[in-house]
């Protein structure tokens, strides 16, 4: 990194000398004895100067005179000015600010304050200065940071899903590719480059709802049962809710797009997808594209439940409509860009990135004029993106620069660690060492020393003190190097993820995922869990499990429509709720099947009879009746599976004769049950 140049203008040699001493370790210093000299140096060195430290009371031309000259010559926007003066009357200060001074340091000088103000001002202006010049570097850097955020998110998902972390990157690249092809083909969707960038970025979040899905289902080898598949399907709506529940950024375009993608990336063009059954272009184009990218990458990747298909096989399967129904335009885009599709799949993340950066540069060249406007927009979007991802991940972000040796923490991070946002000379900072723990600090440094320009990333787990407690954290860091022949370390970007918290959060989300969305009853998996726990707690007690379904439900659906069918199910759930105690477990087991679990002391027959008749009723001209089988723990024991099978056998025993009735399991059904179990075992 080139050292920045600072001009110090003060008539007192001693004052200049004190300031120079404070700053010369990290900056090149030029001195001026009065305002005239200062103006002359500004004129000849304006492009090299990074900062002016300006005294007010000087001979020949005072500080105000220098500021006026800077305004006349438009230098004031190029070089920030910090006033250094014993003059601290408010009229002086005000006049200096009016003339464009950035900051004010009153004498006597405090070394720490001077250094910090200088760094802050330089940081503030660095951005604007790069805007005046060319923005390539800035954009490049922002892209890198943004990519890192996506990497981090991928790591979290990988951590949870057991999916390849590359899936998110691939989906993103393929999304970008499809959208670019689509943009060339039609202007139907009015896609701008900015839209394409945002949709690609947001695609990283498409499966975020899977955080709420039971790991056992998520990582189950082999086919999911219909019940498990129903649970799996909730991830799109859950993901969308997570996005809309975000406390911040709700109005941002990126967040809106992320919502679309999460909710609708499993819709089908023919309307047979979920969760809303949207048809055709009622599905936002963002979600349509991500859906196709997702399917292609899933087909060509290895998963716990399947080997990978080849590129050609995957394309053929998608084109033949075997893996969903897609917009024909998108299928065309895929088939016309087959080679790029295949290549994108094989690229490693770095290649993907450089490809993207190239495109950004190309676009900038086309966009002559208004470059800085555009850049401002770009930067603003990057800022939103970064803080958005940081919010999603609740991460402590940090940036370290070698010159000056300074650590900048995100607001969240500083709060979490209980230290200030800017720390000079962090390696020797005792407060930082105390906050992080000196052992972890050493581990971090050791790991950092293993990075090279070719392998700049390092990921490790270590214990870090947060809010006064030691917590396990995942730290992801990327070292940044100069582009010289012998690269030097320029700085480090990093993120600390509190893994404790994410565990807790996942548990919370799991809790949310235990209920059936329509009826509010427990779903089958969570009911099963609770029933098992209840019986473990009191194996001596009496338990009953009732399993039932709604008679002629299909008929109700066919005659009166699905919406009516849903209301019937809600009615059954409400009546179940009203006729049972809070301690009983009511569950919608799937479709029109329900389950009820209760503990009883005496006379279970009467209780079941009451509940059965409470559920059966007339509902808007439709007779709701149910067929129910009941099993008691005193007959079959306190195993959930035994209870369930017995109740199920009783239910089918009723059905063989009639419907709209109930019966208890008894020994007369033992033979049927055993025969069934035997045939089940054979089938396995």
């Amino acid at each position: 990194m080139k050292r920045e140049k600072i001009l110090i203008a003060d008539d007192s040699e001693m004052n200049r000398s004190i300031l120079a001493d404070m700053l010369s370790d990290n900056y090149d210093i030029i001195e001026a004895e009065d305002g005239v000299q200062a103006t002359a140096i500004l004129k000849t060195h304006i492009t090299e100067l990074s900062l002016l430290l300006l005294d007010i009371v000087m001979p020949n031309l005072d500080g105000f005179g220098v500021l006026e000259a800077m305004n006349r010559n438009d230098w004031i926007d190029a070089v920030p000015v910090i006033i250094i003066s014993a003059e601290n009357s408010s009229t002086h200060v005000e006049r200096a600010y009016e003339l464009g001074a950035t900051d004010f340091i009153a004498r006597p000088f405090d070394a720490l304050i001077v250094r910090r103000r200088v760094v802050n001002t330089l940081l503030l202006y660095a951005k604007q200065k790069r805007l005046i010049g060319m923005v390539e570097n800035q954009v490049y850097e922002q892209e890198r940071q943004n990519d890192m955020m996506i990497d981090i998110l991928s790591h979290i998902m990988e951590f949870r899903n057991g999916e390849s972390g590359l899936h998110i990157l691939h989906v993103r690249t393929l999304t970008d590719l499809l959208l670019s092809a689509l943009q060339k083909k039609t202007d139907k969707y009015k896609l701008t480059m900015a839209d394409i960038g945002m949709i690609s970025t947001a695609s990283a979040l498409h499966d975020i709802g899977k955080m709420a899905i039971d790991e056992k289902i998520l990582n189950k080898p082999g086919k999911l049962t219909p019940e498990e598949f129903e649970i799996m399907k909730t991830h799109s709506a859950i993901g969308a809710n997570m996005i809309s529940d975000l406390p911040v950024h709700r109005q941002e375009q990126l967040v809106k797009i992320a919502y679309e993608i999460c909710r609708w990336h499993h819709e089908r063009y023919d309307g047979r997808g979920y969760p809303d059954g949207l048809v055709g272009d009622d599905i936002p184009i963002s979600a349509q594209v991500v859906a196709l990218a997702d399917v292609y990458d899933a087909l060509t990747s290895e998963r716990v439940y399947k080997p990978p298909f080849t590129h050609d096989a995957a394309i053929a399967m998608i084109t033949r409509g075997e893996c969903g129904a897609f917009n024909p335009l998108l299928i065309e885009c895929m088939n016309e860009n087959m080679d790029q599709f295949r290549a994108a799949r094989d690229k490693n993340p770095d290649e993907i990135r450089s490809h993207k950066l190239m495109r950004i540069s190309e676009e900038k060249l086309r966009d002559t004029g208004g470059a800085s406007q555009r850049t401002l927009r770009l930067l603003d979007r990057e800022r939103v993106r970064n803080s958005f991802f940081a919010t999603m991940a609740e991460a402590i972000q940090f940036e370290y620069t070698c010159e000056p040796p300074m650590l900048t923490l995100s607001v969240f991070g500083a709060k979490k660690l209980g230290i200030s946002e800017i720390i000079m000379d962090p390696i020797n900072d005792q407060k930082l060492a105390a906050a992080v723990g000196s052992e972890s600090m050493q581990t971090l440094l050791d790991n950092l020393h293993t990075t090279t320009p070719e392998h700049p990333d390092v990921k490790l787990d270590c214990s870090i003190r947060m809010d006064g407690m030691n917590r396990w954290c995942r730290v992801v860091m990327r070292s940044m190097w100069t582009e010289e022949v012998t690269p030097r370390l320029e700085g480090v970007l990093g993120t600390v993820l509190d893994i404790h918290d994410s565990h807790q959060k996942m548990q919370e989300l799991e809790k949310r995922a235990t209920r059936d969305a329509m009826t509010g009853l427990l779903n089958r998996a969570s009911a099963r869990e609770q029933i098992i726990l209840r019986m473990q707690d009191g194996p001596e007690n009496n338990f009953a499990l009732a399993f039932f379904d709604v008679d002629d439900f299909k008929l109700a659906n066919d005659i009166y429509g699905h919406e009516f069918g849903d209301r019937v199910l809600k009615c059954v759930a409400a009546r179940m709720h009203d006729s049972t105690r809070g301690s009983d477990i009511s569950c919608r087991a799937g479709g029109d099947e329900f389950m009820l679990f209760l503990e009883y002391k005496t006379d279970i027959e009467k209780t079941i009879d009451r509940i059965f008749h409470a559920i059966c009723c007339d509902f808007e001209g439709f007779r709701i009746s149910v067929t129910m089988g009941v099993a008691l723990s005193r007959d079959v024991g306190t195993s959930y599976d035994a209870l369930f099978r017995a109740a199920d056998a009783a239910l089918y025993a009723v059905k063989r004769v009639t419907k709209g009735n109930y019966r208890f399991y008894d020994d007369s059904l033992k033979n049927t049950l055993e025969a069934e179990e035997a045939s089940d075992r054979k089938g396995e």
């Binding site: 008539d11 007192s12 040699e13 001693m14 004052n15 000398s17 004190i18 001493d21 009371v57 000087m58 001979p59 003066s85 014993a86 004498r107 006597p108 000088f109 405090d110 070394a111 720490l112």
Partner: protein, 123 residues
């Protein structure tokens, strides 16, 4: 008696702890204390005041005040600060002469202390 930087500060009515707190190194404090005598502002103050050039006198007094602030020379800082205010605007006030005499006294005391410290260093 041995004259340390700290006793030198005490002798001239200055605040050693304050300056060390800000500059953060005894080496730096010493360097600038020794530089103080090289500054020509005091001579400029006396000569321009005598010649009735109050604008230059104001700036010279202002510079002395600034140096004293940076070095925590409390006593001289107070008198030079008052003198600076009395000269602001380029014309003297009735108190200016009296204030100048106080600055001269304080400056001499400060300069004596520094010279004593300097000779101690040399010895």
């Amino acid at each position: 008696m041995t004259m340390t930087l700290e006793t030198c500060y005490a002798t001239m009515g200055a605040d050693y702890n304050d300056v060390l707190g800000r500059l953060r190194s005894e080496r730096l404090v010493q360097k600038f204390v020794l530089k103080f005598l090289d500054d020509k502002s005091f001579d400029l103050l006396c000569s321009s005041f005598a010649a009735g050039n109050y604008e230059d006198a104001f700036r010279a007094s202002h510079t002395i005040k600034g140096m004293c602030q940076n070095l925590s020379f409390t006593k001289l800082m107070e008198s030079s600060s008052e003198l600076t205010e009395s000269l602001r605007g380029g014309s003297p006030s009735p108190q200016s002469e009296e204030l100048l005499r106080r600055v001269i006294d304080d400056y001499r005391m400060t300069a004596d202390a520094i010279r004593a410290f300097e000779s101690e260093l040399g010895a």
